[in-house]
């Protein structure tokens, strides 16, 4: 008997933004599979033109409501590079703190609300409100802790306020920062409970070695700053040269563009960072990895979610150290932003967003007005790798029912925690 399965998922649920899965499977072999982004394009790269850099950096965070701090930081770094602005250590520490908040809240959103229901065999978190209210509360608590870490630094997580080129419009209070430390302790406990919850779950078994790309920093597990590293190479590359290393290409069925470097596809995100920078994780995070059975290196895409849990522990432990460093350093009013002068120039900002490496690039005229803008988001970089994983995975599950195949493919998509609501993704290569 020949079996023919046509899988089509219109608007995969529980992901950020709109994407469709289509797969054609005949007699257990995969004829075609793809994940296409069908998000309405928003044209940030076009309409940022003409705006002053102060507006540009505020507008840039509006690219994405989940990784607002990442987009903001990438935009600030690019703008500061273009305007030749140096920032103080305090500003850098504060941004890193806000950043940890975002990574935590974004990961928690994914772990509990987006991917989580698959682990507990429910369609969404809402049935759990009655089944396991304490777990839902814990999820919300952790998510809020992330928000509040960003908030104590920048007034809000979506979309951060006080962060501007050069520094902050707001003078931070040691008491407020200090007060977060109790919350962090509580959060670390909640993470231990999270780890216990996740120890019991069964993840689909798929192993496929690929190229892992992330930022890397000599002194720390890279989120806010660093250079571009590929697991296929020894030497990192400066973010300024991102166009040389990350080659984008278009496909005709998607509004997103695909990316490659040393291989036809690469992976970026929590698992890539874990693989590339494992040694720099905090001790607690390493223990968490052990408790969760995540060994280094790991080539199982479904474990991306587990790597996120490990990173949550890292972020909270590191946030605690950052607060100590800030408070012990004595917080200065720092109105560095007032010294920022308009000038012509261009610059690149690269950060590790929760979902992977993110680039912003701007060019400004003498009045500080934007001449051109470009962004490369992590999900666009992951798409080729996601499809390669799908191709590797379908034969494994080809005998299953259509529902199971569909569900497993959706889970695979979710494991990447794709974030496509931003829909800014394309390099104009001919420029």
């Amino acid at each position: 008997m020949t079996t023919h399965n046509s899988i089509a998922v219109h608007h995969v649920t529980r992901i950020e933004g709109h994407g469709d899965i289509t797969a054609e499977i005949k007699d257990g072999t995969l004829e075609q599979v793809r994940f296409s982004v069908v998000e309405a394009p928003r044209f940030f790269e076009a309409f940022l033109r003409g705006h002053h850099h102060h507006e540009v950096t505020h507008m840039a965070s509006r690219i994405c409501g989940i990784c607002a701090v990442s987009h903001k930081c990438a935009a600030l770094k690019a703008t500061e590079a273009a305007l030749g602005v140096d920032i103080s250590d305090q500003t850098r520490l504060l941004r890193r703190l806000a950043y940890h908040g975002e990574v935590l809240s974004s990961h928690i959103l994914h772990i509990y609300f987006l991917a989580g229901p698959d682990f507990f065999d429910v369609p969404s978190v809402f049935p759990l409100v009655d089944q396991d209210r304490e777990m839902v509360r814990r999820a919300m608590r952790l998510k809020n802790l992330g928000y509040d870490l960003s908030k104590v630094v920048a007034g809000r997580h979506t979309h951060p306020i006080a962060m501007v080129a050069g520094g902050f419009t707001f003078v931070h209070q040691a008491e407020n920062l200090e007060a977060m430390k109790d919350r962090i302790a509580e959060g670390l406990n909640d993470l231990q409970d999270t780890i216990r919850t996740l120890q019991g779950i069964d993840l689909p078994d798929l192993e496929r070695e690929t190229e892992y790309v992330s930022l890397t920093h000599p002194d720390r597990y890279a989120f806010y700053d660093g250079e571009i590293l590929s697991s296929d190479r020894d030497e990192p590359v400066s973010p300024d040269r991102y166009r040389e290393v990350i080659e984008e290409y278009a496909v005709d069925y998607s509004t997103a563009k695909y990316a490659r470097w040393n291989r036809p596809e690469y992976m970026t995100g929590a698992l890539a960072r874990f693989n590339n920078n494992y040694g720099q994780l905090t001790d607690g995070a390493k223990t968490a990895a052990e408790d969760l059975g995540l060994t280094h290196p790991c080539h199982k895409p479904f474990t991306n979610t587990i790597a996120q849990v490990v990173e949550c522990v890292h972020c909270l432990e590191d946030a605690r150290d950052l607060i100590d460093a800030l408070v012990n350093g004595g917080i200065r009013p720092g109105r560095e932003h007032e010294n920022v002068k308009d000038r012509a120039g261009s610059g690149v900002g690269a950060v590790e967003a929760p979902r992977g490496i993110l680039f912003h690039e701007y060019e400004y005229d003498e009045e500080g007005k934007c001449l051109s803008a470009n962004m490369v988001i992590p999900t666009a970089q992951n798409l080729a790798n996601l499809e390669a994983d799908m191709r590797a995975y379908v034969p494994v599950i080809a005998e299953e029912s259509k529902e199971t195949i569909t569900h497993r493919l959706e889970m695979l998509v979710r494991a990447y925690d794709p974030c496509i609501s931003c829909s800014t993704h394309v390099i104009d290569l001919r420029k």
Binding site: H51, G65, V129, R156, T158, H159, I161
Partner: protein, 272 residues
């Protein structure tokens, strides 16, 4: 006395936006659980797999930027008794409308080069430009206390108009220092409040994300800042912000481009 109807069914939908509004709603923790206990959530793609075509209250986030969005929002409108525009994109079109400054073909080309042939895009419009909206929750992102207020208004059958007072009022109620005193230019005097003046509380100027108040005096800054006889505070503002009249007026449109989308300019391609 509050006379309840049966548990209304609630659905969340999104169009072109950053999805930050519906996500920040999750920040409400206990309050969200309290609010949701009065309703039944039947569709919320972002956080649940179930879908439903039957709902009473639809929260719609995002701007209408494609032909198929128009059809989709119309069908949502037909089904929902109550339609809420959630956030700036849905209510006043936020940054999305900035692309309307160019013909769609040009915008597509700017971003996608020649490879943008398959892209379906029309001038961005807020939801209320396409279908009637019962409640607007403005802001980029929405302010959670206001979301809560509107939710409670819906549950208790009350109407809700976005506050028609400028942000300055909330600055004063919070005893926040006016950023003009620091020499910055602020859009607060012409922008609707409801955000609890959060940007100014954190030392930044209001960016105008909630749209203009009714009868906003958008001519005032141009009339003020170019005067010779300014008093010390405003003199400092004028010195630090050598803006042209055009630049001042442009500031009002960053979130709130009220210029009419060019009707003749339609989707650059229909095949999507």
């Amino acid at each position: 006395m509050i006379h309840f109807k049966k548990k209304p069914r609630v659905a969340f939908f999104d169009f072109a936006c950053c999805e930050g509004c519906q996500l920040s709603v999750l920040e409400m923790e206990e309050k969200l659980l309290d609010l949701l206990s009065h309703v039944e959530v039947v569709e919320w793609r972002e956080v649940m797999s179930e879908k439903s075509d039957e709902y009473d209250i639809a929260f719609c986030e995002g701007s209408i930027t494609r032909k198929r969005d128009v059809e989709r929002i119309q069908s949502i409108r037909e089904r929902a008794e109550t339609l809420v525009s959630l956030g700036a994109c849905a209510s006043i079109s936020c940054h999305n409308a900035l692309k309307n400054r160019w013909p769609m073909k040009e915008v597509v080309e700017m971003v996608y080069g020649d490879s943008g042939g398959h892209i379906d895009t029309i001038p961005a419009r807020p939801v209320s430009d396409v279908v009637p909206v019962d409640y607007q929750i403005r802001g980029c992102p929405v302010s959670l206390p206001e979301f809560e207020t509107v939710f409670k208004h819906i549950l208790t059958g009350q109407s809700y108009d976005p506050p028609n007072q400028p942000v300055c009022v909330e600055c004063k109620l919070n005893d926040t220092l006016c950023v003009y005193e620091k020499g910055m230019v602020c859009l607060g005097p012409v922008t609707r409040c409801g955000c609890n003046a959060v940007c100014t509380a954190y030392g930044d100027a209001c960016q105008g994300c909630r749209g203009l108040i009714d009868e906003a005096n958008t001519e005032a800054p141009a009339r003020v800042l170019f005067r010779e006889d300014l008093h010390p505070i405003m003199a400092e503002v004028a010195r630090k912000n050598p803006l042209t009249r055009k630049e001042i007026l442009a500031k009002f449109t960053v979130y709130n481009d009220t210029s009419e989308p060019d009707e003749e300019e339609e989707s650059s391609d229909d095949n999507a």
